[in-house]
């Protein structure tokens, strides 16, 4: 269980100005929850704060009732896999990008080549294994990042706009992969930031609208 308790987000690292009203919610195993809201309201900041990449102004995040400090920050982040909106890949082959997390001491398992192949095949990228990652299209890069996060076998996944750079067919592919992975991985919970309300309605059992947490003084533009 991933719990967000009275979390207050900071507008930027050097600011004490809160971005939203304090937020509390729980993400259970086997559950998919969508985070929606207007552009600039703090959806990405919320995911980065939950992943522990930035500090909240107040409140806390716990995983299975343990704080990240108790678990150890690297292990916590390995269990809460973040996939950012803009795909981040290194200037090496797709294969090397997928295997990168194995060099980290917090990763205790290894991947089998058949797992990698199967996962790539599920997103129609099985022929890209040895291609330079930087030469892929934005949509392909986004799918590679998703596969890399899934291979790390997290307990929960934080997906930031996973379908933003994808066409309709690729959205279906990603949705199928996520559905299949959730079915094959008991306990996996997913928190998704999305503008795609239809995707959120189809895939998620619960939708949290951050519009409900906007501060009175806040002026945001709808996307």
């Amino acid at each position: 269980m991933l719990s967000v308790d009275q979390l207050t987000l900071s507008a930027n690292p050097n600011s004490q100005q809160p971005l939203l009203e304090p937020l509390s919610f729980t993400l259970n195993p086997d559950q998919a929850v969508a985070l929606v809201g207007p552009s600039g309201c703090g959806k990405t900041t919320l995911l980065r704060t939950i992943a522990g990449l930035i500090d909240p102004l107040s409140g806390c995040v716990t995983l299975h009732n343990q704080s990240p400090k108790e678990i150890g920050w690297p292990s916590f982040r390995q269990k809460v896999g973040l996939v950012p909106q803009r795909p981040v890949l290194w200037d090496t082959t797709v294969c090397e990008n997928l295997l990168r997390p194995l060099s980290f001491s917090s990763i205790k398992h290894t991947y089998l080549p058949k797992d990698v192949q199967a996962m790539l095949a599920a997103v129609d990228l099985e022929d890209k294994l040895n291609e330079p990652a930087t030469q892929l299209s934005e949509g392909e890069r986004q799918r590679i990042c998703l596969v890399r996060a899934l291979l790390a076998k997290p307990d929960f996944m934080l997906l930031d706009e996973p379908t933003s750079a994808l066409d309709e067919a690729s959205i279906q592919t990603v949705e199928s992969l996520l559905n299949k992975h959730m079915a094959d991985t008991p306990g996996l919970g997913v928190l998704i930031v999305t503008h795609d309300r239809a995707f959120a309605d189809r895939f998620c059992s619960r939708i949290i609208d951050l519009s409900d947490y906007l501060l009175q003084s806040q002026a945001v533009t709808d996307a």
């Binding site: 930027n12 690292p13 050097n14 992943a51 522990g52 990449l53 930035i54 500090d55 990240p68 400090k69 920050w73 690297p74 292990s75 982040r77 390995q78 896999g81 973040l82 950012p84 803009r86 981040v88 290194w90 990168r100 997390p101 060099s103 980290f104 001491s105 917090s106 990763i107 890399r148 996060a149 790390a152």
Partner: protein, 275 residues
């Protein structure tokens, strides 16, 4: 070479008069004339640079005369402190990106690496008694700091540019479960390597492409070339050790400052300096 031969070389030192210096300044006049003929517009800068060279070096010579007096410990300490402060300031000023407290970190690194290396060289290698004998300590410290600040400035510039420009990749590593050390080691390694490039290049070509300034100075002052070469070897090793120690310390201190114990990168602290 026997000691008697070395002494013989020392006696060949030519004492320079004011007239000799005036004659040498004619060489700068030639450079000025070339600039004038080719309309390079460098005459004024050349004149100013030449005047500064004369004033600064004559002043240095006068100050060092006082410092080399056996009883001027306080003056020695003051000069060492000024040298360290100036070097740490200059080392950081050359970097395009900085964060608050960077000069202080440079001061710590330069002080530790320069003092350690100087003490080892004067006290153990050359065997001067006391180890802080100004005639040895000041020139050696100057050479160490001159090279150390170049190393530091390259190291800092590379590391901060890398941490700033690769924030996305470093945070991706952290998000995938990397420790701060695992996420930072690539940029750290590259920065230390960058800081070491000048001294490694110098060591590779020394004596083939160029005769180092210190060795040239010793030979001109009448020293035995073989002895001057030995001194130069010591100096090269000393500079290499000090520069590497300085770059490694600086990279580690920056790492400790910009990565907190929650394994987060505080890239927001890095500011680009626009001049």
């Amino acid at each position: 070479m026997p000691d008697t031969a070395a002494t013989e070389f020392v006696s060949r030192a030519v004492v320079l008069s004011g007239w000799d210096l005036a004659l040498a300044s004619g060489l700068v006049v030639i450079a000025g004339l070339v600039s004038l003929v080719l309309r390079l517009g460098l005459e004024k800068r050349l004149l100013l640079a030449a005047v500064r060279t004369v004033v600064q070096l004559l002043l240095l010579g006068l100050i060092l005369r006082f410092v080399f007096e056996p009883s001027s410990h306080w003056l020695l300490a003051l000069i060492v402190a000024v040298m360290l402060l100036a070097a740490s300031h200059a080392g950081v000023q050359r970097s395009e990106r900085r964060f608050p407290g960077l000069t202080f970190l440079a001061l710590i690194c330069l002080t530790i690496s320069a003092m350690f290396t100087t003490v080892v060289v004067t006290g153990l290698v050359i065997g001067v008694d006391p180890w802080y004998e100004p005639r040895y300590m000041i020139p050696l410290l100057g050479m160490i700091l001159g090279n150390g600040l170049t190393g530091i400035s390259l190291c800092v510039d590379s590391l901060l540019a890398s941490l700033h420009d690769s924030t996305g990749h470093i945070e991706m590593d952290l998000a995938m479960g990397a420790t701060r050390w695992e996420a930072a080691r690539g940029p750290l390694r590259d920065a230390v390597r960058r800081g070491m490039i000048p001294i490694l290049n110098s060591m590779s070509v020394v004596g083939i492409v160029a005769i180092p300034g210190m060795m040239t100075g010793q030979i001109l002052a009448g020293a035995d070339p073989a002895q001057a070469a030995k001194y130069q070897i010591v100096v090269m090793f000393m500079i290499a050790a000090a520069t590497s120690l300085c770059c490694i310390l600086m990279a580690l201190l920056i790492y400790r400052r910009l990565f907190n114990n929650r394994h987060q990168l505080r890239a927001g602290s890095i500011r680009k300096i626009t001049s």
